[in-house]
């Protein structure tokens, strides 16, 4: 029992509810939102220290023990993700202070933002698959409102698509859970893992596994990403940055959790299927990123490439591949938030997202330009920045399993990513300076701070990999050995 485990979920919900009560007091809302993200980070840091010394931490809500009650499980994998989540969301909040606008602020922007974080953290921490569904819904409901908040024309159009596709996938999720419950009689992850191992993962079980894969693919943007470019480019920058950084990652987390803990017996079927989807996703995403001349479109297609790449490591199902996936997942959360904030700042300054109408920004905004350059290099995995190590490990993992095509596509698409992002840099920052300071649509005042924090973070993560190496190793060891998780939740000699 460790009550620290629940804090990342209840801190944002308490703060959010207080904000709903004091709707008019925006100063209080800003202060509380920053305070609660920092509080989550501190709680998670403590949690990480405890996990590294004492193993996986669990909490049975109300004292009802697993597999009967609701259990929360924090292993190193989820704790790291929560820490990154709270840092990224802090940066997006700081960006929102100066860009989101008073109207959205007074229509519950901050509470919704915190409910989104509640859902994300809950999904990372929950120990049973039904609560995963519940926390998915918490996250999605908050995101429905965030995506349509402000009711501009594009936002409403995209939010209808977004809501429809997510309702369908939630429905499928529920159906898949029902099938799984009918066959195994339990919903607790650890207990599921035991039961599936007992009955073996035969045809029907694998079918259910693939149904889960479809559901999570819809959420993660793995192959079924047709809804993603539109809906991620519709809302204002701070919101689309947090979407790009977190929402698809929760789907990826679910795939990684379910396909390492429960359905890991037939990797030649399930994991190969993930691999094929990942390869197609990377290719299509990269083609989209190269083809478009619109900053927001290029960036959203880069989100898709990232998803494919992370899951390529999962598909390899080796220690190297998983290590790479985790490194790249951490990197991707930071860099996607960063690149979206940068792109948003450019659009904010020039008033257009059409690349051909922008040029020569570097003369007026050298800081912004160079940070964009660093982010671009980091995005495509140039050493010594944070994307590099993940790329190495994922490629190594895929080659080791013999999926040379997968690793190859991963490397080719990273070149395409580099081209697509350099296209923004060269067209946007080089060339003749059209704008003068008076003619700009907005200022960078206050926007560069969060961007700076994230840039420093991506450099630090690249140079200081040694520092987090130990923690990532613990996380991957936990993922590759489901028995650790099962023991932590059900005890060393689980009653059947």
């Amino acid at each position: 029992m460790n009550n620290l485990v629940i804090l990342p979920i209840i801190i944002p919900i308490i703060a959010g509810m207080i904000m709903v009560i004091f709707r008019e007091n925006l100063i209080l809302q800003r202060f509380l939102s920053v305070f609660s993200t920092i509080a989550i980070s501190v709680a998670t840091l403590l949690l990480i220290i405890q996990i590294s010394s004492k193993g996986i931490q669990t909490l049975y809500l109300g004292g009802w023990e697993a597999p009967f009650g609701v259990s929360m499980v924090a292993d190193m994998f989820s704790a790291i993700l929560i820490l990154v989540t709270s840092i990224v969301s802090l940066c997006c909040l700081l960006f929102a202070f100066n860009s989101i606008g008073r109207e959205r602020e007074s229509y519950y922007f901050y509470p919704l933002f915190l409910f989104l974080i509640t859902g994300v953290n809950g999904s990372f921490l929950t120990g049973d698959i039904f609560n995963l569904f519940v926390f998915f819904e918490v996250m999605l409901v908050a995101s429905y409102v965030l995506i349509s908040l402000g009711s501009t024309r594009t936002q409403l159009r995209e939010s209808i698509k977004y809501i429809l596709i997510n309702i369908i996938s939630s429905f499928l999720f529920l159906v898949a859970i029902a099938f799984l419950y009918a066959m195994t009689g339990t919903l607790n992850f650890a207990h599921l893992s035991l039961r599936v191992a007992e009955v073996g993962q035969e045809g029907l079980m694998t079918t259910v596994a693939l149904l889960f894969l479809i559901v999570f693919s819809l959420k993660a943007g793995l192959f079924l990403f047709f809804w993603l470019p539109g809906s991620y480019s519709a809302p204002p920058t701070a919101i689309s940055a947090i979407f790009a950084a977190l929402l698809t990652k929760v789907g990826i987390y679910a795939i990684m959790r379910v396909f390492t803990l429960v359905f890991y017996h037939r990797p030649e079927v399930t994991h190969l299927f993930i691999g094929i989807l990942a390869a197609v996703t990377m290719l299509l995403g990269a083609i989209g990123a190269v083809a478009f001349w619109d900053i927001k479109r290029i960036l959203t297609y880069n989100v898709i490439v990232g998803v494919g790449f992370i899951l390529a490591g999962v598909a390899s199902f080796t220690t190297e591949g998983m290590t790479g996936s985790l490194y790249y997942l951490i990197h991707d959360m930071i860099i996607k938030a960063l690149i979206f904030l940068l792109g948003g700042t450019i659009v904010h300054l020039t008033g257009t997202s059409k690349l051909k109408e922008i040029s020569g920004l570097i003369r007026l905004h050298p800081g912004l330009g160079w940070m964009f350059f660093i982010a671009a290099l980091s995005l495509s995995g140039i050493p010594p920045l944070s994307g590099f190590l993940g790329k190495i490990f994922i490629s190594e993992g895929t080659f080791k399993t013999g999926y040379f095509w997968l690793g190859g596509i991963g490397l080719i698409t990273s070149l395409m990513v580099l081209y697509s992002i350099m296209k923004i840099f060269i067209n946007g920052f080089w060339g003749h300076t059209d704008l003068t300071e008076e003619k700009e649509k907005g200022t960078t005042k206050g926007l560069l701070l969060p961007i700076g924090i994230l840039t420093i973070l991506t450099i630090a993560l690249g140079l200081g990999t040694e520092g987090i190496h130990g923690y990532v190793d613990i996380a991957v060891e936990g993922l590759m050995n489901p028995s650790q998780y099962i023991e932590a939740v059900l005890g060393s000699n689980p009653a059947q």
Binding site: I10, I21, L61
Partner: protein, 141 residues
């Protein structure tokens, strides 16, 4: 335009609302040991308020019940979560509930449980949310 003839619905509502409120409170308290509880108690309570909305118009009802239902929902969730947090202060797992028997002046030996406080939170959240939904659908603005 002629005045709508709503004598019947007005008279029935005035009686029915009291009955529904009583039933809702009964549902709420019986939920501790029998079927019922904060959720359906709250729903029944909300249905009575909706009946009031239908009979008299929204403006009149809001004047008589001057509560912001969004705030009510938030307060409800806060109460529910904070009873969970209370367990943390006693170093028990989050959401742990406890109960005891007390000799109260009129009720004699009574069971008092923290779960009831949690349930009050759930009830308020349900009332607040459902009325907010109905009002935002029903409002012309």
């Amino acid at each position: 335009m002629k005045e709508p003839n709503d004598v019947i619905i007005r008279s029935v509502t005035k009686v029915a609302v009291v009955i529904i409120f009583t039933f809702a409170i009964n549902l709420f308290f019986s939920g501790h040991h029998y079927p019922g509880g904060g959720f359906i108690g709250g729903l029944a309570f909300a249905s009575a308020i909706i009946l009031l909305f239908l009979t008299f118009d929204i403006e009149t009802v809001r004047k008589n019940i001057p509560v912001d239902f969004k705030v009510l929902a938030a307060v409800g969730v806060l109460i529910a979560v904070l009873t969970g947090v209370g367990a943390i202060l006693f170093d028990a797992p989050f959401l742990t509930q406890t109960f005891g028997y007390f000799n109260l002046p009129i009720f004699r030996k009574t069971e008092l449980a923290t779960a009831v406080i949690f349930d009050i939170g759930v009830g308020l959240a349900v009332i607040g949310t459902s009325i907010t939904i109905i009002m935002s659908i029903g409002d012309d603005r």
